[in-house]
């Protein structure tokens, strides 16, 4: 083994950190048989220590390195390796370096001493020696490198943190604390942020653990207060310490011990009183430091009480005359802390002194708001301070409110009153049973003296808003002490809710306004204030909400009677008010009572409202239905929040969830619910009694509400559909069932508009069903047999009207025939009930769909959709398309065999054959062909979202991609439809449990776009391609490609961006003015956004072509419509506007993406075009042109 000399030499000669030599040395010392080893180890550096006075730099470096060798060795030594006498000797040696070798020895010595101090053999008495030797550094301390100083701070901090050493220091030095005064002298002018953090930590530790004499205290106080307020200059080499860290460290020193209170508090107040010389940041720092002192001084009588009046005298002006919010907030925080810390008698003295100022200010309109803030902050400190404040201030507040004539003064006083009420509510929640919160001051009397008087005085909107806010708080005040009760009487509470309902619920429906001659904004502000107040009050006083719902229902007839407004306006109003009611009732659960109370009351009320409107236009039904949907969503959200905070949310896919009793039969548990399908409006009292008996934990409430939501959806489905015998215009759904589902008699066939509104109602109902069904677990969906419900629409389920027969007939037919369980879409009423079936289907889990026979569900569906001439058109057809997409997406491979799948594809392929039959005489008309094609694409869209890579599986997709765009007559229209494959579809989203593979975008791109790039440009016939590509086919192919690309993410096609850009350039010139151009521009803007480099070479062509597109679209506008061949595609003004918009969007973005030198050649022509574009007929396009013009003209 190498000798210590060799190891030392090796270490000294090494360049970087050599861990090896110290480690070997440490092992050698530990393994050595005798004590001599330590001596030899120390002696190994003798050769570098011989001439400490030598000033040659080389010697210095090697000497420092040699000493470092010793220090590093100590780091590797075990704590028990050295004997006390050895430690003492070593400490002596390293201590001596502090006086003898200021240039090379300090860093290593500090490091070594830190290690030695942690050794078991370190005697506490040595601590003082180390401290004193550090002090010997004198002025040379500041000449040390910051890193060396850091080592010294670490050493001192280590010693102070060692309780034995600290005790010994206190014992040896007494109250004079000589070691500290010496240290303060040495470290006085520290500037390095990292070192300062340590230094402040040392000072804090010292102040907390030692009891120094006054002189020492002021010396130490000066050592850190000199830095206050601390700032940090920006540095090129940031230390990682922020100015907030430094502020925190200094603050900790100030707040370290009450002993320095007599220095710290006057010091801080003095700084604060310097007036304008203090910036906002500094002021906030001072205030926060003062707050920390007040909060942390342990001995309140010595550290806080003596300064209370002084603090008040200084701080009150910060709020009274303050303008900056941050300063005011910090001051209020400090005052609140002060009030919190003061014990009872001192608090009383403090507040009576403060009240002399505050009482006066309250009567003065200029200072009321500020005085209010101060009063609130003191009141909020503790229940004791609240009762003290309330006792003194409340009589004064009500008197001032009565006497003042100024509206702003009234508003300020009311704001104070409201704050006190809120503070009281908050304190009541945390106060113990023995606390007195002055109940008598916050009851009916306050209502009469304060709020009722203001309400009757005809005050302006601003004051009214404040009064409403306060009344809501007042109605929910409860008594302090055990068994809290409402303080206000029932009459007063009812009055408050009646008043709040006027501007928010009743008057809007009745067409009145609360404040005559108020502007529209003012009325809206009053209404919003009332709503906000109600949102807060309703959970605390549920009877008030029942009152609101009742008021809503009884105002509906008034709304209908209004002859001045048309039904569209009236329905909008009804919807607004109903949604407001949903917001008020469903934002929170009832505080003391059944959590579902308000939700059920509201939805029950809305169902009653809907029932009363059934003879009216469907626009009113929609208004109410929207509100029911909103109420369900909001309530579910509110309950889910409770769930997440209290217990794990039930995973919707959890199959082990057996607790289905709520979901399948809520009516057994809650009786008296409204059933509008049976024309029963329910018995609210019975319902309320039943709700009282339900379990109230978050999990149960959530499930109860799910059950209730299903109950609501089911009754609406039943109400608006009916079972009737099959007839010629409503064919049988199935041979074994003699009845069909159609619309109920509520739907009267009147005007076209009316029918449209009815359809809209059906969609909204379906959408609500989706929201409810998708939130259920898979097992719950199966338990409820939702697959069957898509065919029977909940008929025969918990109703007694004899409709059960139909249900059992359908169910039986599924069980008996060979096709098994399936879905049937009724053709009655022109398929108008299809959206309702889709509503349920959309929310189902793939697992739930396992119970059906996919083949026998899809085949009849395909049959309907592939039939020509089509029987089902418009929106119902699209609903069927969506159903097909869902089925193709959610049917799993385990469930449908390859043969069955092929037979579905064959059916679709036959449909496709009709589409491509071209000009044959018996071919269907163009709209039918397009409709069939879209249905096929919907099926494929569902399939490709969870693509399977086998070739056998995707043959239909391939045939369509290969042939559709080259179809002779309608190739272009077919190509435009390709977007359906990837366009966003509600039925194919994660919340609706669709099966979406993560790389579907890439897969679709590889299959449907990439292989066709070469067909996007025209080419003459060649060896491989006999026919070549004519212009028309190439254009159609490009249309198809962009229809798909516009919906893909850039990274999915970025690898072929160059090729795409080439096709873009051709397409800009060939597409004409159409929506297709918009797709091209979308893709182009994507390339520009992600990889502008790719466009650099093509800038000339792109700029010219885009400006040409703009010009063409502008001309179209003048000459209006241009027909583009057969079918629907005529370019409208809106399409032209869209083209111009997207063209200019691209031009606008160019200057930001390229260096001017690439664009300058085009500047003049572009500016010319853009200046013409400034006169575009569409305002949005003009704005783009103006900003584009600015960007291009700034190029230079």
């Amino acid at each position: 083994m190498a000798s210590f000399d060799d190891l030392a030499l090796k270490y000294v000669l090494s360049d970087g950190d050599d861990n090896d030599s110290p480690l070997q040395a440490a092992t050698a010392i530990e393994n050595a048989a005798n004590r001599l080893a330590v001596g030899q180890w120390v002696a190994s550096i003798n050769r570098w220590m011989t001439s400490p006075d030598d000033t040659a730099d080389d010697d210095l470096i090697s000497r420092a390195k040699a000493l470092e060798f010793l220090a590093r060795t100590l780091e590797f030594l075990k704590r028990t390796s050295l004997k006390p006498d050895q430690v003492k000797l070593l400490v002596g040696f390293f201590n001596s370096l502090f006086s003898s070798d200021h240039r090379a020895g300090i860093s290593a010595s500090s490091r070594a001493l830190k290690q030695l101090a942690s050794m078991e053999g370190f005697r506490p008495s040595l601590g003082s020696e180390v401290m004193m030797s550090v002090a010997k550094l004198g002025d040379d301390f500041k000449r040390q490198a910051p890193a060396t100083r850091l080592e010294i701070y670490d050493l001192v901090l280590g010693l102070l943190n060692n309780s034995l050493v600290a005790e010994d220091l206190a014992y040896q030095h007494g109250s004079s604390c000589g070691f500290m005064t010496a240290l303060v002298d040495v470290c006085r002018s520290e500037r390095d942020p990292q070192n300062l953090m340590k230094w402040f930590e040392i000072l804090r530790l010292f102040l907390q653990n030692f009891s120094p004499a006054k002189e020492v205290l002021s010396e130490v106080f000066k050592a850190f207060s000199d830095y206050f307020p601390i700032t940090l200059r920006a540095s090129v080499t940031p230390s990682g310490i922020t100015v907030d860290d430094l502020k925190g460290a200094v603050r900790a020193c100030f707040a370290s011990h009450y002993r320095i209170a007599e220095l710290a508090i006057p010091f801080l107040l003095n700084k604060l009183d310097q007036g304008d010389a203090v910036t906002v940041t500094i002021k906030v720092d001072i205030l926060l430091t003062l707050e920390a002192c007040l909060a942390q001084y342990e001995h309140v009588a010595q550290g806080v009480v003596p300064y209370a009046n002084q603090i008040w005298a200084s701080l009150k002006y910060e709020v009274r005359n303050g303008e900056i919010r941050d300063t005011i907030d910090a001051t209020l925080k400090a005052i609140a802390t002060l009030a919190k810390r003061l014990p009872e008698p001192d608090l009383r003295t403090f507040f009576s002194a403060a009240w002399r100022d505050l009482g006066e200010d309250l009567s003065n309109a200029t200072y009321t708001s500020q005085a209010g803030q101060l009063i609130t902050s003191i009141a909020a400190a503790s229940p004791t301070s609240f009762s003290l404040v309330a006792e003194t201030a409340m009589p004064h507040i009500t008197t001032t409110l009565r006497q003042t004539k100024s509206e702003s003064h009234q508003a300020d006083i009311l704001a104070l009153l409201n704050s006190l009420l809120q503070v009281r509510s908050a304190l009541a929640d945390v106060a113990g049973e023995n606390e007195n919160l002055k109940d008598d001051l916050f009851g009916d009397q306050l209502f009469e003296d304060g709020y009722a008087r203001t309400w009757d005085s005809g005050a302006g909107p601003h004051v009214l808003a404040k009064a409403m806010d306060g009344m809501a708080s007042l109605a929910s005040q409860r008594t302090s002490g055990p068994n809290p009760q409402l303080i206000c009487s029932q009459q007063v509470c009812e009055k408050i809710f009646r008043w709040l309902a006027l501007p928010s619920i009743i008057y809007p429906l009745e067409g009145k306004i609360l404040v005559q001659n108020a502007s529209e904004e003012d009325s809206l502000a009053i209404c919003n204030a009332a709503t906000t107040a109600l949102v807060r009050a309703v959970p605390l006083y549920p009877p008030g909400f029942q009152q609101l719902v009742f008021a809503f229902l009884s105002s509906i007839p008034e709304l209908l009677e209004n002859k001045q407004a048309d039904s569209a306006d009236k329905s909008t109003l009804l919807n607004e008010v109903a949604l407001r009611l949903a917001r008020i009732g469903c934002s929170a659960t009832v505080r003391l009572g059944p959590p579902l109370l308000n939700f059920v009351v509201l939805i029950n009320g809305l169902l009653q409202g809907l029932h009363s409107l059934l003879k009216e236009s469907p626009v009113y039904w929609i208004a109410i239905l929207d509100a029911i949907h909103m109420a369900i969503l909001r309530s579910t959200d509110t309950l889910a929040v409770l769930l997440t905070s209290k217990e794990a949310i039930p995973i919707p896919g959890d199959k082990a969830n057996n607790d289905q009793q709520w979901i399948t039969g809520i009516e057994k548990h809650i009786r008296g619910l409204a059933r509008i399908d049976l024309d029963q409006l329910g018995d609210l009292d019975l319902t309320l009694r039943n709700l009282e008996d339900l379990e109230r934990d978050a999990g149960s409430s959530y499930k109860q509400f799910q059950g209730y939501s299903i109950h609501v959806v089911a009754q609406l489905y039943r109400r608006f559909t009916s079972i009737r015998p099959a007839s010629s215009d409503s064919p049988l759904m199935d041979a074994s069932v003699d009845k069909v589902i159609g619309l109920s008699t509520d739907f009267r066939l009147e005007s076209h508009d009316e029918v449209q509104q009815q359809d809209r109602f059906l969609y909204q109902l379906a959408r609500m069903a989706t929201s409810v069904m998708r939130s259920l677990s898979e097992s719950a969906q199966q338990e409820l047999d939702l697959v069957l419900e898509t065919s029977v629409m909940f008929h025969g389920k918990d109703d007694e009207s004899g409709r059960a027969e139909f249900r059992s007939q359908v169910s039986r037919s599924f069980q008996t025939d060979s096709h098994g369980n399936r879905m049937m879409f009724s053709a009655a009423d022109d398929y108008r009930t299809v959206p309702l079936g889709l509503g349920i289907l959309q929310g189902l889990w793939p697992g739930t769909l396992m119970t059906i026979n996919p083949l026998w569900t899809m085949m009849p569906l395909c049959e309907i959709l592939m039939k020509s001439p089509t029987q089902c058109a418009g929106s119902r057809r699209i609903a069927l398309d969506a159903a097909l997409a869902i089925l193709s997406n959610k049917s799993s491979d385990k469930h449908i065999s390859a043969e069955e799948w092929s037979s579905v594809l064959n059916g679709l392929a036959d449909g496709y054959a009709q589409v491509t039959r071209g000009a044959a005489t018996d071919s269907p008309d163009v709209p039918t062909r397009l409709a069939i094609f879209k249905s096929i694409l919907h099926f494929l869209a569902g399939d490709v979202a969870r693509y399977r890579p086998t070739r056998a599986h995707n043959w239909l997709l391939r045939i369509i991609c290969d042939t559709a765009p080259s179809e002779i007559t309608i190739g272009r229209q077919l190509a435009q439809c390709f977007g359906i494959l990837v366009s966003p579809k509600e039925c194919l989203t994660k919340p609706n449990h669709a099966h979406l593979k993560p790389f579907r975008g890439q897969w679709i791109y590889q299959e449907t776009v990439r292989p066709y790039f070469d067909r996007c440009l025209p080419s003459p016939p060649s060896g491989t391609d006999q026919s070549g590509q004519d212009d028309r086919c190439a254009t159609n192919r490009s249309v198809a490609i962009f229809a798909i690309l516009r919906h893909l993410k850039y990274n999915e096609y970025s690898s072929d961006a160059d090729q795409i850009v080439r096709v873009v350039i051709r397409s800009l010139a060939t597409f004409g003015v159409s929506d297709d151009i918009h797709a091209v521009m979308t893709v182009l803007c994507q390339v520009l956004e992600h990889e502008p480099e790719r466009l650099k070479e093509h800038l000339a062509a792109l700029v010219t072509n885009t400006m040409a597109v703009y010009k063409m679209a502008r001309n179209v506008d003048s000459s209006l419509l241009i027909s583009q061949g057969p079918g629907k595609t005529t370019t409208t003004r809106s399409d032209a506007g869209k083209c111009r918009h997207s063209a200019l969007t691209f031009m606008r973005q160019l200057p930001g993406c390229f260096e001017p030198r690439y664009l300058l050649p085009h500047r003049v022509s572009v500016l010319q075009g853009l200046s013409l574009a400034c006169g575009d007929p569409v305002r949005g396009v003009r704005a783009l042109a103006i900003s584009g013009r600015k960007a291009w003209s700034n190029l230079s």
Binding site: T531, A568, T572, N575, E576, L579, R583, S587, I622, D626, H629, M630, D637, D753, Q756, Q757, R760, Y763, Q764, A766, R767, S771, G874, S875, I878, A879, L930, K934, Q976, C977, G979, I980, S983, P984, K985, E986, C987, D1075, D1117, S1118, R1133, S1134, G1137, K1138, S1171, L1172, A1173, C1174, G1175, P1177, V1178, R1179, G1180, V1181, R1182, I1186, S1187, R1189, K1190, S1193
Partner: protein, 202 residues
């Protein structure tokens, strides 16, 4: 510009300035409402497909996004009202230097005519005080902004409102003199001031 001509001008708040009346549509009362409103009353996505021609008449669809609207007085006002005053960091609209009634388009935008026909825009500028030395700069700023934002068939005239300036004739003469305007724009200092004024224009 430490010696301001009018150190303490009257300032209008943003809500007092004339704005285009936004068509009444359902606006949710709070952000919280918006979260749910979208789920409730949005048109079902399967009916929003580009190839779906089913109408959805609830008035919430923004079919009118590309509706044609001629350049009107309000639009001219919007273009110039956010120019910053050369003395104060406040817009000309807020200082009431430019006012909606003082913008005039001939022939009026409501009369249908050839889109390329010549139109004249007349803006009357009201300096905050009658002896404002920067009236010419204000007028020049308005003129430059409009020339940069209007199509070539619009002629821009900027004048000082009658009686609002002690030397309005002289200022008007300067503003109407094309050569002097062109020369002014060659002046780097003046160009700097104008650029600063137009910085806030979007």
């Amino acid at each position: 510009m430490d010696n301001k001509d009018n150190a303490n001008p009257t300032i209008l708040t943003a809500s007092e300035l004339p704005t285009r009346q936004i068509k009444k549509r359902k606006t949710p009362a709070s952000a919280d409402d918006a979260k749910f409103a979208d789920a409730v009353s949005r048109r079902p996505l399967f009916l929003s497909d580009p190839f779906c021609d089913v109408s959805w008449s609830d008035g919430t669809e923004s079919e009118d996004e590309f509706v044609e609207e001629p350049i009107d007085e309000q639009e001219i006002y919007d273009l110039i009202s956010n120019i910053t005053d050369p003395e104060h960091p406040i817009s000309l609209g807020q200082l009431a230097v430019v006012n909606l009634p003082d913008v005039e388009i001939t022939p009026p935008p409501s009369t249908p005519c050839d889109p390329n026909a010549l139109r004249r825009v007349l803006v009357k500028v009201t300096p905050t005080i009658t002896h404002c030395s920067l009236a010419t700069v204000l007028g020049l700023g308005v003129r430059v902004r409009l020339e940069q934002a209007l199509p070539p068939n619009y002629r821009v005239d900027v004048v000082i409102k009658e009686g609002s300036h002690s030397q309005d004739d002289q200022v008007n003469k300067q503003l109407a003199d094309k050569e002097r305007v062109a020369a002014a724009l060659e002046n780097d200092t003046l160009k700097g001031v104008l650029d600063k004024m137009l910085e806030t224009c979007v």
